[in-house]
């Protein structure tokens, strides 16, 4: 087995589903001839042709709206936002149309919106955000965020097979930095199940997306200082694996929550609130959140580095929580 990148695994997952099911199609800006801004769909046009690989006008609302209509009529569209940031143009379609159709009058809306997100790439205020929290508060949408090569594939396949609108947050920083070997089998990551990325006893780090990696690094470094960190990779934000969260809290009695999104109103608040309500008895220390500071995402390296949480921030929060 040869190693595959995170974006390669995503590509392979999509390709397998395109081959498996005729109702699956890809839609978005520059996904055909160009293979997508990040080349996630490279080679697809040659293999599957237009319209199954559909380069569209520059119209996010039309793209997402067309997905809703096609999905209601039985297709399984996979839309690419060129950057997650541009989903704001199709926001209304997602939160009002896609999310509410099934509840209102019954049809299933099996569609996936892929959202290349995240920073560390000097993309500035409009090419770097992590907008997942907007959608986690919308009943009717599912939200996943793969942190590993395996889940990049397993979650896109699960998302495509899911009968609901699923937002798939793929982290740009991980695209080519993560590499792994994958088995040949039909890899599906069930949506709604967290993954214990690392076992530990002293404190739990609950994270998703890129923070799983920074978290893993922090945990490895703290181990040498005698602190044992358990890392829970949520994988899916909606539905949320409350059971796994409460289990790790019950085990370590101390918890740090980490995400790359800004702190105020980020999804970490929801996790903290659930623990503060349902896991209160297990808590031996305040719940800390490690997140970006509450500003737009700045462009210059010095600023983006100061903006984003890093391994040192994680170590400090974990240490303080253990020492509390």
């Amino acid at each position: 087995m040869s190693k595959i990148t995170y974006i390669g695994a995503l590509r392979e997952g999509m390709r397998e589903e395109l081959l498996r099911d005729e109702s699956v199609f890809c839609i978005g800006e520059d996904i055909g001839t160009y293979g997508g801004a990040f080349r996630a769909t490279q080679g697809f046009l040659e293999e599957f042709g237009r319209p199954r690989i559909l380069d569209t006008p520059l119209s996010e609302s039309a793209i997402i709206g067309a997905c809703v209509g096609a999905a209601i009529m039985g297709m399984r569209p996979v839309a690419e936002m060129q950057f997650a940031d541009f989903v704001t143009g199709g926001f209304n379609m997602l939160v009002n149309f896609a999310a509410k159709v099934h509840y209102r009058w019954g049809p299933s809306v099996p569609m996936v919106v892929r959202l290349p997100c995240g920073g560390g790439t000097r993309g500035g205020p409009f090419h770097t955000t992590n907008p997942e929290a907007w959608f986690t508060r919308v009943p009717g949408l599912k939200v996943v965020a793969p942190a590993t090569v395996r889940d990049a594939k397993g979650l896109i396949k699960a998302a495509i097979r899911d009968d609901n609108p699923v937002l798939y947050f793929e982290h740009k920083y991980l695209y080519r930095r993560l590499k792994d070997e994958l088995p040949d089998e039909d890899l599906i990551t069930p949506i709604g199940k967290a993954r214990l990325a690392r076992e530990g006893n002293d404190v739990s780090l609950i994270a998703y997306g890129s923070m799983v990696h920074y978290g893993g690094q922090a945990a490895a470094e703290l181990e040498q200082a005698g602190i044992s960190v358990e890392v829970l990779d949520l994988r899916s934000l909606v539905p949320l694996d409350e059971e796994a969260i409460l289990a790790t809290v019950a085990k370590t009695n101390r918890v740090v929550i980490a995400h790359e999104d800004t702190k105020t109103g980020g999804f970490g608040g929801e996790i903290a609130a659930r623990i503060a309500e349902l896991g209160f008895e297990h808590l031996d220390a305040p719940i800390r959140r490690v997140a970006s500071i509450d500003t737009p995402v700045p462009h210059a390296p010095q600023l983006e580095d100061a903006f984003m949480p890093g391994v040192e921030d994680l170590k400090q929060a974990l240490k303080e929580t253990v020492e509390y």
């Binding site: 609302s61 209601i72 009717g140």
Partner: protein, 340 residues
Amino acid sequence: MGKTRRSPDGKASGRKEDAALAAYDEMFLLGLYRDMARTRALDDRIEALYKQGKLVAGCYSSRGQEACSVGSTASLRPDDVIGPMIRNLGSIVRHGVPLTLVLRNYLGRATGPTKGRDGSSHFGSLQHNMLGPISMLGALIPVCAGAALAFQMRGEDRVALTWIGDGGSNVGDFHEGLNFAGVLKLPMVLILENNKWAYSTPIEYQTAAKNFVCRAEGYGIRGATVDGNDVLAMYEVTREAVDRARAGEGPTLIEADTMRMRGHAIHDDAKYVPEEMFETWEQRDPILLFSQRLRAAGLLDDDTVAKIRQEVRAEVDEATEDATAQPLPDGKGEIDEVYA
């Protein structure tokens, strides 16, 4: 919907004078009349229920615009998809959705198409090839384009038909949706009901364009204008657009000239509308116009009108009875039905 006339009966002697009518089957013509009457009767019933305090919330009348919905929908096959907006009751009626479903939804019943979760004619029904709108105007256009895309991809010769108002046509989704449909030559038809008002806002505050149909050119699609109060003209213009869509010639934007004859919703007395406007358009009531024409052609007389009126009333009464007898929702199990 036959295009050739069946052998005319005794009353048909006057029909030769109306060459356009002569091209159609009598049953088809009476069907248009009947479906407008059914729509009006249902509309009136909804208003009456509101006044009796029986509706959950307000209601939106399509009075005076029945032709825009009934005539256009008459051009469809049952497997074509409609995406009606709030003033397209006639489309729901014509496309074969039982009236009780509309009433159950207005009455917020557990057995209605939304189980009380949404109101008024805000529902869809896959069984009846009907897409439900959302309140955000314009949003249904890209969604109907998506339905049409599904048909095109699967090689089905089905068409999607939807509507927009003079107000709603200024939302970005109108632009994105029609342009998208134009590029892909999707089998889709959009009827823009220019009823002169968007809530209290007159069209000159909506756009400086001399009309709305000229926007079609900006998307490389066909445009057509029609007297929206002439049900047969509505049928014909939509029929042509639907035939073209089915033949792979792409979408059409049809601007229908009509008038909103009530306030925006029932709470709105529409005082901002000049009285003369209502008076002028009252003369052009689509049901009145068509019945005059049918009468002139000898296709309708007092007896038939009375008979249809009675049948329609019976249907609406029955639907009301049925809908009113349905159970109310109990507020349990909602959370289990958010996801498929």
